[in-house]
């Protein structure tokens, strides 16, 4: 079954610094052949006798067929675990689980797609763009970040995309502002049929809102939320929960890793992230008077 993820010992091919981030390329044929855009891998950090038990989850920037199959991850060095990962050398072994989670759903027809991304997690849109382009879709990029060095892949977006709009908060590259500021204009200009989002939660929320204003479907990857809150990557630890409402209108707490990381943007209750909404299934009940609660 090529659908099931694998646990594999991957060999590090290269580790390099890219702007503000690190990119590590791993030889992992079993993962590369199963991978679909939007899925992620969970990396054990610290070596065999590591004292760090949390698996680090990263989206996949690129899959190549070299050496039987490689995957490239892009991440920011924010804590000791990512520091350890950034310090790997070529030929080191990494314990990897993947590909995990649900992928982006792809359009059946060659439609026009808008891909909005930011931060290191935004690197995952390039694997998606690759697949969309091969299906004959038009791909327009909107990339954003606080400064030029924090915008990953602007040149690649300009090269492979039908258009690429860059925004930075300090104006050091492209337009001064945020993705949200330019999104309505780009949507109008490109006549996009569907919107994809990868990156920080704030960006995904904005993407969902703007897409909703235009009546367009949006699919977003909550990988950044998963990185902040998850521990296992496979759906057993129950820590990366976020409120999502289903077809039946009921809000459930779902796992960002196993039920995501790709979710329909309009289904996520963005304002209630980090809470248990009172109307969610299984939310703590206020005891009514008849149940002996305070009167």
């Amino acid at each position: 079954m090529s659908d099931t993820p694998v646990q594999t010992s991957a060999t590090v091919l290269t580790v390099r610094q890219v702007q503000d981030y690190h990119a590590v390329t791993l030889v992992a044929p079993a993962i590369a052949e199963r991978f679909r855009p939007g899925q992620f891998v969970a990396v054990a950090v610290g070596g065999e006798y590591s004292a760090r038990l949390v698996r680090r989850c990263f989206g996949v920037h690129e899959v190549k067929s070299d050496y039987g199959g490689t995957v490239e991850l892009v991440f920011a060095d924010t804590e000791p675990g990512t520091g350890w990962l950034a310090g790997r050398r070529s030929r080191d072994q990494l314990d990897l689980l993947g590909p995990l989670g649900r992928p982006f759903r792809l359009p059946r027809d060659p439609v026009t797609c808008l891909l909005a991304a930011g931060g290191p997690g935004g690197a995952a849109v390039f694997a998606l763009a690759d697949t969309l382009l091969r299906r004959g879709c038009k791909v327009h990029f909107v990339l954003g970040g606080p400064s030029a060095k924090a915008v990953f892949g602007s040149r690649m977006a300009q090269r492979i995309g039908d258009s690429a709009t860059i925004t930075t908060e300090d104006g050091s590259m492209g337009e001064k502002g945020t993705v949200r500021d330019v999104l309505p204009r780009v949507l109008q200009e490109t006549g996009a049929d569907v919107v994809y989002g990868c990156g920080p939660t704030g960006l995904l929320r904005a993407v969902t809102q703007v897409a909703g204003d235009f009546g367009l479907p949006s699919q977003v990857s909550v990988e950044e939320f998963l990185q902040r809150t998850g521990a296992c990557g496979i759906g057993v630890c129950m820590t990366c929960m976020l409120p999502v409402h289903g077809d039946d209108g009921v809000t459930r707490m779902v796992r960002a890793c196993a039920d995501g990381p790709v979710l329909r943007g309009d289904r996520v209750r963005w304002g209630d992230l980090g809470t248990i909404p009172f109307d969610a299934l299984g939310a703590p009940r206020v005891l009514s008077v008849s149940e002996g609660g305070s009167q």
Binding site: A51, L53, R228, V236, T239, M241, G274, P284
Partner: protein, 326 residues
Amino acid sequence: MSDRLRTTLGPLELPNPVLTASGCGGTGRELAQFSDLARLGAFVTTSVMPQARAGRPTPRVAETPSGLLTATGLPSPGVETFLERDLPWLIEQGVRTIVSVAGNSVEEYGDIASRLRNVPGVAAIEVNVACPNVEDRGRMFGWHPTAAASVVRAVRAYARPGLPVFAKLAPDVTDIVTIALACVDAGADGLTLINAMEGMAIDTGTLRPALTGVSGGLSGPAIRPVAVRCVYQVHAALPSTPIIGVGGVASGLDALEFILAGASAVAVGTALFHDPAAGPRVLRELDEALGARRLGRLADAVGLAHKPAGYVPPQVRPQEPEKEPQ
């Protein structure tokens, strides 16, 4: 896998002593992608509660040295969903299943046990006594011998007669032996030692507690010495009570440590978050470790640390010398 790993936990016989710890194996489907659950001694489910429970808001986990601090708030699909969706799948896969049960009141524990009464395919019940008692200002049942005994008695009363009942105890109490005794007196066939310890971490970035639940349960290798101590003390006091040792088991030698302290089985918990195939690996390593120490059977190793140095376990079934091919 060799026959020497067979283990007996009171009325419960298992082909080998490696289990999954409650709350660490999801529904079973997630782990089954990476390892064969039917090969394990048993799968212990996440605590089943009467109603669906969403649990606590995020962040629910913080990484601490060799451990995890978690406050999930016992999320549960509720007993209905568990019986319709999760248990049938486990049975279908041929997984021996121990159902962990929890409640907010003594009555709820009894309710759950009665719901499981006529359900086929349940190997045993594990009573999670580390739950806040809403009828007692939210204090944990497991903190007091009387409260712990009352929930065990409720489960025992409503569970199918003959179905093994284990009580899972929390370590952060004044004297774990007193609570163990109270649970055995109330009808527990065995004990699971230990549940997570209460701990706390503060985020030095936000200057506030790292978890929404403020404090959380500390698990992983960080608490293994505490767990081994609890198993040793309880086995010394109650040598005939079977014990499932839990707390930071990540390798075969960790498992052997628990066995030597007096556990007849071990459960792998937090290690599953780090390595979803940890169960079969621990089992293989334990088998090798027993062989390397010339311990003929697992049962010979149980509680061996209590015996004086130089003690050789009597060979109940002397192994036949291997015949040379003629």
